[in-house]
């Protein structure tokens, strides 16, 4: 019986064992906190006076335990924060809400600043009485520097982007203004040379007519380049907004071809059109698409020799229309194809010096087709011919 009866001795032994366990546990916690290097962890009393100090705190803030224990934690704050009563407000917030977290500049012993992430947690005893605060501080200076650097780079990029946009707009504006200015004198030349050629001042001597016609044609070429520059400046500036209406594409092509017959005849070339059997319509800006088709047909003629034919065919798939322009011209070398739709691209061939284009027509045409969510495809065999296909969604 005596074996089962609790004795004072037994109770004392049990208490002692529990006490020892608690001591070991406390010792482990102390070791843990003391040796954490990356976090400053310390205890402050209810007034904000420092009571404990770990290795992380020493490493972080530069003070030894001897130097700092008993001092007020506001020592770590810059003067401006102290003037604003930030330390007191943080303790007040921690007391009211249980914890407070903050990021900001703090001071080391040597007066240098570091960017800190701070958590202050209020601590209570078993009766619920506030006994002080645990403060955990992390040095995030490096991260802060990286973030600041990133922000700075971002701002710089944004500024550069803005500057580039302004520069681009002023370039477009300049091209537009310069082109308009150039148009006026060229229009004057057109009128005066035109008057001579058209006999307003009587008949010209033999030879004069031909020379003046060359001057007139040269001026016409200049006017065409000016027009192309203006069109490109407008499309680059985003000023072209297609006015899309349901358009009968067959009628559009027929009308273009009708207007082109004379110029084809003059070049001793033919143009044929393979009509669809049904009505083909698409939602397009008919003026812009007319100019695109004219441009492709004109190129087909200009880059073909005499006695060649150009064939235009209109077809449709379920949701798109395809306008195909096939010539028997000089063709395009495979190496030149990637440059074809670039600005000012001049592809050298038998006829390029004779044609004297601006190198802007196809660039503009592609931009216009892009604005219709369409595509321009091409295939070419040098010395045999080129086929351009304009594909536009219905």
């Amino acid at each position: 019986m005596s074996m089962n009866k609790p004795t004072v001795q037994n109770s004392l032994s049990s208490l002692q064992a529990r006490h020892d366990e608690t001591l070991v546990e406390l010792e482990l916690y102390k070791l843990l906190v003391d040796n954490v290097q990356d976090y400053a962890i310390f205890f402050m009393d209810t007034g904000g006076y420092i009571r404990t100090w770990n290795k992380g705190a020493q490493k972080n803030k530069g003070y030894t335990a001897k130097e700092i224990v008993g001092k007020h934690f506001s020592k770590f704050y810059p003067q401006s924060d102290i003037d604003n009563r930030k330390p007191d407000r943080e303790l007040e917030l921690a007391r009211r809400n249980g914890r407070v977290e903050d990021e900001g500049w703090r001071l080391r012993k040597d007066g240098s600043s570091f960017w800190a992430n701070v958590v202050i947690t209020s601590l209570y005893d078993t009766d619920g009485t506030l006994i002080g605060y645990a403060k955990v501080t992390r040095d995030l200076t490096q991260r802060k520097a990286q973030e600041d650097e990133l922000r700075k780079t971002n701002m710089l990029l944004k500024k550069q982007q803005h500057d580039l946009r302004l520069l681009n707009a002023s370039k477009d504006e300049f091209i537009s203004l310069a082109s308009h200015q150039l148009r006026t004198p060229a229009t004057g030349v057109k009128q005066y040379v035109g008057m001579l050629i058209e006999g307003f001042t009587g008949e010209l001597q033999p030879g004069q007519q031909g020379l003046l016609e060359k001057a007139y044609e040269s001026n016409e070429r200049q006017l065409r380049i000016i027009s192309d520059l203006l069109k490109v400046a407008q499309v680059d500036a985003g000023k072209i907004k297609p006015l899309k209406t349901m358009t009968n594409i067959h009628e559009l092509i027929a009308s273009i071809i009708n207007e082109q017959h004379d110029s084809f005849s003059k070049r001793h070339q033919t143009i044929s059109y393979i009509k669809p059997t049904n009505t083909i319509e698409a939602r397009v800006d008919c003026n812009l698409i007319r100019m695109v088709i004219e441009n492709i047909i004109n190129n087909a003629s200009k880059y073909s020799h005499e006695n060649k034919a150009v064939a235009v065919r209109l077809s449709e798939t379920g949701d798109a229309v395809c306008i195909e322009v096939k010539d028997q011209g000089v063709g395009i070398m495979p190496t030149d194809i990637p440059r074809l739709f670039e600005k000012f691209s001049r592809i050298d061939n038998d006829l390029s010096s004779h044609v004297g284009g601006s190198g802007l027509g196809l660039y503009w045409a592609k931009k216009i087709v892009d604005l219709h969510n369409g595509t321009i495809e091409m295939s070419s065999v040098p010395d045999a011919g080129t086929t351009f296909s304009i594909i536009l969604p219905k």
């Binding site: 308009h180 148009r183 006026t184 229009t187 004057g188 057109k190 009128q191 307003f200």
Partner: protein, 126 residues
Amino acid sequence: MSNAKILVVEDEKDLNDAYKIILTSAGYDVTTALNGQEALEGIDKDGDPDLILLDLRMPVVDGIRFLEMYNSPNHLNTSIILFSNYEAQAEVDKAFRLGVERYILKSLASPSELLRIVESTLADRS
């Protein structure tokens, strides 16, 4: 109607002169002005022309301001052709609302084309 009265309103002196020579050679009675203000003064003095060849961008009083001041509904016997080198769609649309009948890009019209345009505009009128 080759004796029709035509007023050329064009600030570029060389072009103004060229249009005068071209139209005069076809028998038209041509007067000229270098801006909208001069044009309005000329109309006050000489009365309405049969046709006005009007530039858009001009100093002092430009084409649009001229049209606003001229108030074409009060001058139904005068046709107005807008003759500009600026493809400014908004201004052209406004000009049409203010009574312009045709718009021609100057750089596209040769002397004989100019005469054709003038002739057909006058023919439409009569």
